[in-house]
Amino acid sequence: MRILLVEDEPKVAGFVERGLVAERYAVDVSGDGREAWELAEAYPYDLIILDLMLPGLDGSDILQRIRKKNTCVPVLVLTARDAVDDKVRLFEMGADDYLTKPFAFAELLVRSKALLRRGPVNRSSTLRVGDLELDRLTQQVKRKGRRIELTTKEYQLLEYLMQNPGRVLSRNMIIEHVWDQSFDGFTNIVDVYVRHLRGKVDDDHEFKMIRTVRGTGYMIRSESES
């Protein structure tokens, strides 16, 4: 999988590249608009991560050129301005997703993976992480074969965590998936729900599957992954 990262701020480009390489992606980095456009034209990338404010050629120009060439490469836009009109325009221009700075790298990674997979995340009817099992058809959750009763929100939260096993999910991402953006203020609703979920999933077992990554978010992992 080959990713083109277009970002003129070297430090941002640095840690994003490092992170993506650690996930075993091939990454080309460009800090100049014109050069980036040439790269995008020359190679069939699987994903382009595009910062909007660039020297040479503006990010939105590059986006338009890519779409004019009718390539269906997914484009994830990074932006420092989040004026509403800007976002509307981005989607109209053909961006597939966007992230507003400052973003968590984990979020960039999850969104990138989703775009690389193209289409919904794991839609199989049963999700399995270690000895934890979630049946999407019956909406039943079992650990070591023992049934766990969950509320709707707890179920949605667990489902989202289990879709991304071993991956840190930020509060922001969880709120966006399980609740809606209105809750992304100063509430600690995610923490409260995770605590309840833990009580039901982890309390009776020695291995605690739901882990807090301080300052970042939460993740679920199986005993073998830890």
Partner: protein, 493 residues
Amino acid sequence: MIVASLRARVTSWYVGLLTISLLVFGACIYFGVQRYLEASLQRSLATEARSIANTFVDQFETKGNTWLEQELSESYPQSGNAQVVRVSRLGLGDQYQVLYPSADANDGMSEKLTLPPAVDLQAPEFRRESGSDAVPLVVYAFPYKSVSGARYLIEVAASHAPIAQLLRNLLLLLFILTPLIVFAAGIGGYVMMNQPLKPVVSLTLKAERIGVAELGERLPVIPTGDELERLSHSLNRMITRLEDALDHNRRFSADVSHELRTPLTILRGELEHVIQLPDLNAEVVDSVGSALEEIERLAKIVESLLAISRLDSGGAGIEHHPFDLAALSRMTADQMQLLASEKQVSLTCKSMGTVQAIGDETRIKQVLVNLLDNAIKYTRTNGHVIVSVEAQENNALLTVTDDGVGIPAESLPHVFERFYRAEKARSRSEGFGLGLSLVEAVCRAHGGKASIESTEGLGTSITVRLPRADTPWMAVGDGRPNPPSPDSLYIHQ
């Protein structure tokens, strides 16, 4: 009202000055007239006395007593004359002989000298005495030595009554006229002050209407060419400067938030990388984690500031669609239920049926979440939070009431200010001091209003007023070209 009191003050000042000058003027006239009248009376008495001495007394010694009496009574008839004459010849010691009496006791004359002639008088003098019938008399006594060496005393008197009468009339006139003039001038001045103050009244009303939101408006310029025109010009210049400053302020917070993002992104990315490194000791993980938490907090502050300044400047792209505020509040309360039960606070929603409001449903939901979150945070265990929605005339009212810690009265006017925190109730660990500012900004951007009531120790009630859907406002709201997009609803990303 300021203008009314200014008018009264100016009027009373100048009425006071007018009264004082009228009093001084009256006194001058009164005493001047009095002096003049008395002096002229005295002058005429003295002239008479001298002419009597020269024309009659000198000849008396040759022509005899009868002649004198005849001549004098011809010149100064004893009745109907203003002047009374008495001529006496003085002898040795205190002897004297009246040659011509002022009047006989029985001839019915009105005035008569009552005192005997002053025999030892050396120089002429004036004196006063009351005549018969207690008429005040002014008497001129003139000692005269004839050529033969005989001594005479000539006394001429006149009644003081006419002068007194005149002065009394003058005084009466002054006493009546002064208050009349003062009164008329006061009324006239008060009425006339109305005219030049009218523009001030209209300036005041207009200036009060120009709030922070309508700074684009200007005061009417009063083309009078005087101080008031200059005043309206300088007020307008001041409003312009105010507008510039506010604009600058808004742009500034937007720019700052914007510029902070890239360094925040880098900080976050680098620290997230560090915390993922294998074999870190717990202390490092803890420190980096704590730093990451603060970055997250900082990022949220930046987002909120940006959102507020965008709402303030009208560039937030608020949608105006009718939605059911009652249903929204029921749903939100439901979603927040766990947060409440976690703190053992009861959260109830008292909104039945439908209340259609106009606005941006997602933003209003954000307001609801913020208000409920706040209410739950500042309510003690076993407390109550109640959210209610009702329709009131043209408004849809959303009220969140709690029986929590409340807010001190002195803090109430500031709770909607950015970064304001009532010291006692809101500790640093919770919130950023921006939640209520955001609520207020969203309300204002909707053409609504947020208001707060609170009693320390008893609880707080915050009311949000939004336009209702079935009012004419709807036509305006629907006319706005807003591209429908799911993410135009989001403030934070």
